[in-house]
Structure formats: structure tokens, C-alpha cells
């Protein structure tokens, strides 16, 4: 019997190792798997390379993972956000490496990583500092830059509902990077608001097919990052 369901975030992320490359879903807080990230902070893996669109806000979730010095490098498109304090400090002190990638190139590098395509040419960033040192090719009179696919040891994503096979559906703009990150990791771990019985999700509307997901864990009432940030909460919780 196939059963990809794990009981807790702690069990689902237990084998993440030092030096792992991890994709973390989310655009700001929408789609950010905050409970999985907090479990990862508790677990202690370090020297991580994180691939995520942003670098977190306040002192919870991804920002807290950075604040605890677990991340040596982040690959992202927009590391500054309202209320992002941790990343700017680490970056200005030279304590974290940043690979800045245009957002569409980031998405396509992840998609290609999951689709078995090692690299691709794109016009995005040609003539800008982000193309410096990269191969440029002229195709039909236009210039393109070579960009390489991204893959990961683990992907941590947040979805709305899942089943024990690993089928996923998402909620509104919380979908963002989730589906492509599920494709690009050796082990994809999805937290979902609700685990439903196999067959309950309409095959016509399943967004992430189960083959791309290895683990599913239910987090019924996920935390809201903007609420925690407005309350100036820090993870791990002090009280």
C-alpha cells in the first residue's frame, strides 16, 4: 500500500542533512510552508543552500532559518521585502552568499530541473549585470543568455489538500512555486491544510500529480506570517 503520509512536520523533515540543497515554496508568505521550516530549525541541519523566491520577513519562518545561521547560500529573485530584517544584516556582514536570479529565470530553472532539461537560453537579463560571465548566444538575430537548471535534495511546499498518494491542490496565489518545486527535488515534502481520502480530489483538478510528491503531512491551521510579524514573534518561541 502506498502511504506517503507522515504524522508530524518533525518526522517528515527528520532526514534533511547538513549541506543539503532545499527548495522552499512561497511568494512572501503565500505558500510558505512555515511549520516545515520551523521543524527544520528545531532539527538543526546547517550549511544549507536554499532556493526560494524571497528571504523571509520578521523573525519567523524562512527569516528565522537564516537568523539561526543554518543557510550558507540563498538563490532567490527578491531578498528584500517589507519587514525583512534578517537577510539584509547577514548580507551586509558577508555572512550569507546570494545568487540573484530574475524571477522568471528562477521559475524556469526549477521547472527544467524537474523536467530533465539541463539548461536553456533566455533573453532575460541580456545586457545587464546579471548576465555577466554567462554564455551568450545569438539566435535569429537576437541575443540570449545560457541558464542552468536547478535541482534540490528536498523541496518543502505548502498546499491546500493532499491525499496519501501525494496528489495536491493549492489555495489561490499560494500555489506559486509549489508545483514546479515538487518536480525538481529528490524528496518533496508537502504540508497540507487537510489530508483527504484517495479519490476525493477530482482527477480533473489535481494540480500536482502524486508522482512528484514523496511525503505529505497535515497542518490543519497553519500560522500566518504577517500576524506573527506584526506581533514581533521570534522562532523558536520564547514563552
Amino acid at each position: 500500500m502506498i502511504n506517503k503520509v507522515f504524522k508530524t512536520p518533525k518526522e517528515a523533515i527528520a532526514d534533511i542533512f547538513d549541506g543539503a540543497t532545499i527548495m522552499i515554496g512561497g511568494f512572501g508568505e503565500a505558500g510558505s510552508p512555515i511549520e516545515l521550516i520551523h521543524a527544520l530549525i528545531d532539527q538543526g541541519a546547517k550549511n544549507l543552500t536554499i532556493i526560494s523566491n524571497n528571504a523571509g520577513s520578521g523573525h519567523v519562518g524562512l527569516a528565522a532559518l537564516l537568523e539561526h545561521k543554518r543557510v550558507k547560500k540563498i538563490i532567490c529573485s527578491y531578498p528584500k521585502t517589507a519587514f525583512s530584517e534578517v537577510f539584509p544584516d547577514l548580507y551586509c556582514n558577508g555572512e550569507i552568499e546570494l545568487e540573484l536570479v530574475p524571477q522568471g529565470t528562477l521559475a524556469e530553472r526549477i521547472r527544467c530541473g524537474g523536467a530533465g532539461i539541463p539548461a536553456f537560453y533566455t533573453p532575460t537579463s541580456v545586457g545587464t549585470p546579471l548576465a555577466e560571465g554567462k554564455e551568450i548566444r545569438e539566435i535569429d538575430g537576437k541575443f540570449y543568455v545560457l541558464e542552468y537548471a536547478l535541482k534540490a535534495d528536498f523541496s518543502l511546499v505548502k498546499a491546500y489538500q493532499g491525499d496519501r498518494y501525494g496528489n495536491l491542490i493549492y489555495y489561490k496565489t499560494g500555489r506559486n512555486f509549489g508545483p514546479i518545486m515538487c518536480m525538481a527535488a529528490k524528496v518533496t515534502i508537502a504540508q497540507v491544510n487537510k489530508i483527504v481520502e484517495v479519490g476525493e480530489l477530482d482527477p480533473e483538478i489535481i494540480v500536482t500529480p502524486n508522482i512528484f510528491v514523496q511525503r505529505v503531512v497535515e497542518v490543519a491551521n497553519p500560522l500566518h506570517e504577517h500576524v506573527l510579524v506584526s506581533q514581533n514573534k521570534k522562532y523558536p518561541w520564547t514563552e
Binding site: S125, P129, Y171
Partner: protein, 215 residues
């Protein structure tokens, strides 16, 4: 005192842009002033607004108390979705952008050069946290790239220049510039002024512009 009643307000600039977007267009709006444009789409026109984080069909801002932080725009502000809207993942969203499916993108800018080079993501200062988001994808992929910005910086430095001094977002990508003082097309002959704001004459505009203007 001489600034009063000269030039357009941000709302008037947004209205001018909105009036220039035809019925049925697919439009991506950048963060800041561009977001205002959604409020000024003329009656009787249907314009579908795309947000890079995975929604086609952005609606008006939600009523206070009804915000859903899983329904946000590129600026991470809560939004609503219109009837007929659809959600999709990031690779699809940027396939819309990079694949040339969107008709217009309207972006803010630090500088625009006379050949349409755009600088809008970094001042190049060592203290600046570099962050690019989707700007480089938008300027390469969208059919028409419009800039909406103040004509000069707060201290009066021209933002329409011969050559950008800030790091570029894209080379020769801007087709039209809306400022508080004028609307300017980027043409193969140079920067052509197509409309002057109230109280602005040719000399005043040229004096506030580093690049040469065609009237």
C-alpha cells in the same frame, strides 16, 4: 509655490495610462504607482490584469477585514480576483510573460535612456540589497513596456537620460514614458514628446531632461 497646478498628479498619470490601454488587453502592473492604473480603467472596457505570482484577473482591493493573505499581488498586498479569474504556478505565469502573451507592462523606473534602456532594480550602491523580482522578464517578454514615473528625482535630477548610470534592467525595451510633466514615445529617431502636462512648455521640459527631446 510655482509647482502648484503644474504637471499631473499620480492619479492623473494613472488615468492617462489607463485611457491608452485598449479593450481586451492583458496587462501586468508593477509595484507602486502602476498599481493605481487598475482603478482608472474606463467604463465599458474589459482589461485583464495579470500578477506575476499566479493570477490572471486581479480585481479591486478587498474591503477592510476581508483580506486573504493567500490572495496577494506582486507587491505582496492583498487583492481580490474577478469572476473568470484563474490561478496558475510560477512557470506558467512567467511563460505568459516571457512567451510574449501579455500586451502591456507598466513599470516604475530610476532611469530611462534615450534609446529605451531601463534601470529600475538597483542603484548599484554597495549598501543596496540587490533584488530584481520579475522586472527583467517583463521587459524582455511583454509586447509593450510602458514606464510611469516622476520626471526628475526629488532633488531635480533628470531621470530621462542619454545613458543610464544605474545597472540596467533591459536594453532598448521601453516604448513609452508617462511622467508628471509629459508623455514621451521612444522612437527610432529619438524621444518624441506626444503630450505636455498643464503649465509645462517645451523649454521647461527640455531643461528637466538630460536626453534631447523631439517636439
Amino acid at each position: 509655490m510655482d509647482r502648484i497646478n503644474i504637471g499631473w498628479s499620480k492619479e492623473e498619470m494613472a488615468t492617462l495610462v489607463a485611457n491608452d490601454i485598449p479593450d481586451g488587453s492583458y496587462v501586468n502592473l508593477g509595484i507602486g504607482i502602476p498599481e493605481l492604473i487598475a482603478n482608472y480603467v474606463p467604463q465599458g472596457r474589459e482589461v485583464i490584469i495579470h500578477t506575476e505570482n499566479g493570477l490572471l484577473g486581479v480585481g479591486p482591493a478587498p474591503a477592510p477585514g476581508t483580506e486573504d493573505f493567500d490572495l496577494i499581488n506582486a507587491g505582496k498586498k492583498p487583492i481580490t480576483a474577478i469572476k473568470g479569474a484563474c490561478f496558475f504556478h510560477h512557470a506558467d505565469s512567467f511563460a505568459m510573460i516571457r512567451g510574449g502573451h501579455l500586451d502591456f507592462t507598466i513599470l516604475g523606473a530610476y532611469q530611462v535612456s534615450q534609446n529605451g534602456d531601463l534601470a529600475n532594480w538597483s542603484t548599484g550602491s554597495p549598501n543596496d540589497i540587490p533584488a530584481v523580482g520579475g522586472a527583467m522578464d517583463l521587459v524582455q517578454g511583454v509586447k509593450n513596456v510602458f514606464v510611469i514615473m516622476s520626471h526628475t528625482t526629488k532633488d531635480g535630477t533628470p531621470k530621462i537620460v542619454k545613458k543610464c548610470t544605474y545597472p540596467l534592467t533591459g536594453v532598448a525595451v521601453v516604448s513609452r514614458i508617462y511622467t508628471d510633466l509629459a508623455i514621451i514615445d521612444v522612437t527610432s529617431q529619438g524621444l518624441k514628446v506626444i503630450k505636455l502636462a498643464p503649465g509645462i512648455d517645451k523649454n521647461t521640459l527640455q531643461n528637466k531632461t538630460e536626453a534631447d527631446l523631439i517636439f
